[in-house]
């Protein structure tokens, strides 16, 4: 037996009487770490002053150069999840989580070397490519594992894991700043040692998750569980293979829905701090704006658990209708709320919008499971996450481009966001139409002679 055989799928199967509530912490260990990517912006300014220390000097990287690192990481997250999804299903969660831990930890270490040597390509290669692949590999496996443990509450299960992704950003933003302060000196901003330390911390924490994760036996069911297929025509007890799933209209409708929901949310998230300062000029300081960003993160995280759990009660389709229609109303209301300078209503509107942004991520795996079955849901989810990559690039660009265009047209900065808000409302309306078109997957796509579920 090989020394690494304990990583194999068959060695992570739980014994009789294993308590399934021991598994969500394993998923959280992974998602709390990989969620760090959303806090990468805390490194942006320090990375532009590595030579000058107090201010950017000749030879320092520009903010535009550094800004692409996040996009590259998200791009490779999507690519890795799309291309490794089928392997993850075969390899099992422990092996996948271990590979992810080494990619994320290694990505930080290579990135630290890039910062130390002031080599931007090395930083892109480490954090963006290697780290991004680690994010993609680590994202799907815990979600898929929890769905097999909680077939009676798949929304709550995926919500728990994906909530960790939102929470990870909050931990990372605080921890990264603390570490940079700790390692800072007169000649260094402490970014490289902070990167290296974070890499080691994340790798260890993720390996803990990999060690404690378990899979249920193939035919395991929770006591008293009755499959929901009999209660809704949108929920199947059959399986659709990943290569077949990507040929169904349902896959593309869900891809479009995730893309539109993420585009609408991520555009705001990326511009939240300058937006509130410009819309409430004079009454919101940069420090308060940072508080606003933190508050949005809380709603983003909470929404992942609350909305996904709600979807177990009211159904995925109804939940997505709430995201799109309520989001549309809120986006349409924001410009007039800002004009009347009602800051509490403004914050509440964006809080709810961001809760639905997070909810969209957390509900989509359960929506996929309902339509395509459990067996290949990890691989199908991986393919669907390319929508996130596309939206991660388009959303911020869209908000920034429209804002700049409006300012060039002579519109006041405070009003420059109004057009963007109406556009986001329009995108959500299209999303609602896509959701309306989602129906059950045709029987001829179902895998013949396959066990109904794992």
């Amino acid at each position: 037996m090989s020394a690494l055989s304990f990583l194999d799928r068959e060695h992570s199967v739980a014994g009789l009487g294993f308590n399934r509530w021991l598994v969500p912490p394993a998923a959280l260990c992974i998602h709390l770490c990989i969620g760090e990517v959303y806090a990468f912006s805390v490194f942006n300014l320090p990375l532009t002053k590595l030579i000058g220390i107090t201010k950017a000097a000749q030879g320092d990287w520009s903010l535009a150069d550094v800004g692409w690192i996040f996009s590259v990481a998200i791009l490779f997250l999507g690519l890795a999840s799309a291309f490794t999804g089928a392997w993850l299903d075969r390899a099992g969660p422990r092996k996948a989580m271990t590979v992810s831990a080494f990619c994320v930890g290694g990505g930080f270490l290579v990135g630290a070397l890039g910062i130390q040597l002031h080599s931007l390509p090395l930083l892109f290669l480490g954090y963006g490519v290697l780290g991004g692949c680690g994010l993609g590999i680590g994202y799907i496996s815990p979600v898929r594992t929890l769905m097999t443990w909680f077939p009676d509450r798949p929304g709550m299960a995926t919500g728990l894991a994906i909530m960790g992704f939102g929470g990870g950003a909050m931990i990372a933003s605080q921890l990264s700043v603390l570490l940079m302060h700790h390692f800072a000196s007169a000649t260094s901003l402490g970014v490289a040692p902070a990167f290296a330390t974070l890499g080691i911390i994340y790798a260890v924490f993720m390996l803990v998750g990999a060690a404690i994760v378990r899979l249920p036996e193939a035919q395991w069911r929770p006591a008293g569980y009755v499959p929901a297929a009999a209660t809704s025509r949108l929920i199947t007890d059959q399986n659709v293979d990943v290569r077949t799933a990507v040929r169904t209209p349902q896959f593309y409708l869900l891809w479009a829905m995730l893309f539109l929901n993420v585009t609408a949310g991520i555009g705001v998230l990326s511009q939240a701090s300058p937006m509130i300062q410009e819309m409430f000029k004079g009454s919101v300081t940069p420090l308060a704006a940072a508080g606003f960003v933190g508050l949005l993160s809380l709603f983003n995280m909470g929404g992942r658990c609350v909305w996904a759990s709600t979807s177990d009660l009211i159904g995925r389709k109804a939940t997505y209708f709430i995201f799109f229609l309520l989001g549309l109303l809120l986006y349409a209301a924001v410009p007039s709320i800002a004009r009347e300078q009602k800051i509490t209503a403004f914050v509440l509107c964006y809080g709810i919008i961001l809760s639905m942004y997070g909810g969209g991520f957390a509900t989509i795996p359960a929506y996929l499971k309902d339509l395509f079955g459990t067996r290949y849901v990890g691989a199908i989810h991986g393919r669907l996450l390319t929508a996130w990559s596309a939206a991660g690039v388009l959303g911020p660009v869209l908000v920034d481009y429209i804002r700049q265009y409006r300012i060039h047209e002579g519109v006041a900065k405070a009003d420059a966001y109004s057009a963007t808000m109406y556009l986001m409302a329009g995108l959500l309306f299209i999303g609602a139409l896509c959701n309306l078109a989602v129906g059950p997957v045709s029987r001829h796509f179902h895998q013949p002679n396959a066990p109904a579920a794992e």
Partner: protein
């Protein structure tokens, strides 16, 4: 099938995950308070 409760193990596993999360949330809420002060 009978499920073992394993309370100590449950508490330990959940603490591993939730203590860092609670720390992150606490620090974020502290910062968010500045918005309304």
């Amino acid at each position: 099938m009978q499920t073992e409760t394993q309370p100590a193990k449950l508490a330990l596993y959940w603490a591993i995950a939730l203590v860092p999360l609670a720390w992150g949330v606490y620090r974020t809420v502290l910062n968010a308070m500045k918005l309304f002060s």
